[in-house]
């Protein structure tokens, strides 16, 4: 590849877990991810899809360095994230948002505490500056700054997702990993959060790694699509091309079982519109 180095480059990542089938059974190894790699360019969206147990979450956890891969490396702006200094740069530059952020928040923290925590950990600003920044971020993600004193339980699911995005933005990252961040939300909420992510991407040249089991949603939002099956990337390419002409059985299955796609095609064909 010519030109500038990609923002993130995950190379040959492998991760295996030990499992016992019974109390006295021998330990066996399950390869959750085998030799998987991908690049993320600045401002681009990479989508990762796969069924449950396909290894998509493990791949993302390894690429985000939440988990140490057994083999492979992660490059940030072309340099291996190997020493403490690079790890610190990576931690500031790449953030995460998960499905149902409620479980990722300290229930006793206020919204202000939640958003300022990364700044506090990184020793950025005075308390007053951090508070001001948090209110600004709340405005950016469509939350009223007047709610800064509320706790997670006082927000709805969609608002909590906005809060998680505000926290992820606190350190002005260049990449956000979104692991099922749009799943389990109502359609109208999902639409709002997806539009928010698109706006933020445009304003800040953010890159996203979007993990989901919903291939139609990912195809809509991503530039590049990876399909995981049994720990391996079995197919990848431009999102539209992969969806249009799936090569691997696993991809075809995802396309055909996506209930929204499959059933709505039928309805649209039958419908009067």
């Amino acid at each position: 590849m010519t030109g500038p180095a990609p923002l993130l480059s995950a190379r040959n990542l492998s991760r295996r877990y030990a499992r016992r089938r019974g109390l006295l059974a021998r330990r066996e190894w399950i390869a959750a991810v085998s030799d998987a790699g991908f690049d993320v360019a600045e401002g681009a969206t990479v989508g990762i899809v796969g069924g449950s147990g396909s290894g998509k979450s493990t791949l993302v956890r390894c690429a985000a360095l939440l988990e140490r891969p057994d083999a492979g490396e992660v490059l940030w702006c072309g340099r291996a994230v190997a020493d403490a200094a690079m790890r610190a740069a990576f931690r500031r530059g790449a953030q995460l948002v998960f499905q149902d952020s409620a479980t990722a928040f300290n229930p006793r923290f206020t919204a202000l505490d939640i958003i300022t925590e990364p700044l506090l950990v990184q020793n950025i600003g005075t308390p007053a500056e951090r508070g001001e920044r948090a209110r600004e971020l709340m405005r950016d993600v469509g939350l009223s700054p007047g709610w800064a004193g509320r706790r997670p339980a006082q927000f709805s699911g969609g608002q909590r997702q906005r809060l998680a995005i505000a926290r992820a933005l606190a350190l002005e990252p260049r990449l956000i990993f979104l692991d099922e961040a749009l799943s389990g939300l109502d359609l109208s909420t999902q639409a709002q959060i997806a539009n928010l992510l698109l706006d933020l991407q445009q304003q800040r040249r953010l890159a996203y790694v979007l993990v989901s089991h919903d291939i139609a949603l990912v195809a809509r939002l991503a530039d590049h699509l990876l399909v995981m099956h049994e720990g391996r990337i079995v197919e990848q390419g431009a999102a539209a091309a992969v969806l249009d002409n799936p090569q691997h059985d696993a991809t075809r299955r995802l396309v055909s079982t996506s209930t929204v796609v499959a059933s709505c095609v039928r309805r649209m064909a039958a419908g009067a519109r």
């Binding site: 389990g184 109208s188 909420t189 999902q190 949603l217 809509r220 995802l254 796609v261 039958a270 419908g271």
Partner: protein
């Protein structure tokens, strides 16, 4: 009342004017809900979080917290469940009507083998001499290839999708006639989702079970339900056969929901036709305007793109559209109430 016209000839479940109010709430969580489920029918309830759909589901089996105020009637094969005593209710739950919640996996005891947890349900309701054989039969029915080994497994040894199926096996153990499932698929991936819906469909065919499936996902209902009730802020705002609902939504809220559901597919299709690179505008989602629930008039009025003056002043009554569809919206009322009605309210 016009809505009573839309009752199937011989409904198993007939719900009339069911309301549930929680203490301190400004409006009822479930408000004068009327619907019925016919023999072997697959009915869907479509609604977004907070619309009262889970409260409605729980109220049908009287599973609500004791501080909730419930009124109306729930007729199950002629018996009014509202009048039933605790003992009769216990005998009915699981045996005739069973309930699958969003995460049945959470209800499993982590230190008991899953087979025993299914057999437990059988013990409560049936005198089956060989419960293990019957439990294995059910495990096979919900799609396990090796029921005997699953019978002996502990919940943590199974995947999330497998645990979900154990919960479903528990609910189906006594072959209930009606299964109420509250978001049974929302935590599952697409493949497991369609597997589960196929399982439900085959149970309907084989045993003539009726299903009441509650979800926020129109796609799930398009794939499974025959008839759909759309719920907004405690009210059923529209009901229709699933084809009509998607092709010709009558209520502005239904129209917005089905539009978003179809839009992702249309956008992907549009991107395919446009080739690459794809226009970013196709990625944007149509948003339903956010807004409060109106305290008077039509609940949806503050968010509705088609709102009229009358919507603010009066509550729309149910308008019957055809044999199986009805809607509560002034757009479908030939002569909206005049200023005189305004004075009455």
């Amino acid at each position: 009342m016009g809505a009573l016209l839309i009752s199937p000839s011989n409904p198993w479940l007939q719900v009339r004017d069911l309301s549930v109010t929680y203490p301190g709430a400004a409006i009822p969580a479930v408000d004068r809900v009327i619907f019925s489920v016919d023999a072997g029918e697959a009915v869907g309830i479509l609604g977004e979080s907070g619309c009262g759909k889970s409260t409605l589901a729980a109220s049908l089996l009287r599973l609500l917290p004791s501080d909730a105020t419930v009124s109306g009637s729930i007729l199950w094969q002629g018996r009014d469940l509202m009048q039933l005593g605790t003992g009769d209710l216990r005998r009915l739950r699981g045996a005739e009507i069973s309930f699958i919640n969003q995460e049945p996996a959470l209800a499993l005891n982590p230190v008991l083998r899953v087979g025993m947890q299914i057999a437990e349900v059988l013990r409560a309701h049936l005198s089956v001499p060989d419960r293990k054989a019957r439990a294995c039969e059910i495990l096979a029915e919900v799609g396990f290839d090796d029921p005997a080994s699953v019978y002996a497994a502990y919940p943590h040894q199974l995947s999330g999708g497998q645990r979900q199926r154990i919960g479903i096996a528990q609910a189906l153990a006594c072959r209930p006639r009606l299964v109420i499932a509250d978001e049974p698929t929302s935590k599952l991936d697409a493949a497991l989702q369609s597997e589960l819906l196929q399982l439900f469909a085959s149970l309907r065919r084989k045993h003539g079970m009726a299903f009441l499936l509650i979800t926020h996902d129109p796609g799930v209902l398009a794939a499974f339900a025959g008839r759909v009730l759309v719920m907004y802020a405690g009210r059923i705002v529209e009901q229709a056969g699933v084809d009509r609902l998607f092709a010709q939504p009558s209520h502005p809220y239904t129209a917005a929901l089905t539009h978003i559901a179809l839009e992702t597919f249309a956008a992907v299709q549009g991107q395919l036709e446009a080739g690459r690179p794809r226009p970013a505008t196709l990625r944007r989602f149509t948003q339903i305007t956010a807004g409060p629930v109106a305290a008077r008039g039509c609940r949806y009025e503050p968010r509705c793109p088609d709102r009229m003056q009358v919507c603010r002043d009066a509550e729309p009554q149910i308008t019957v559209l055809d044999a199986t569809s009805s809607v509560s919206c002034f757009k479908h009322v030939a002569q909206p109430p005049s200023a005189v009605d305004k004075g009455i309210r």
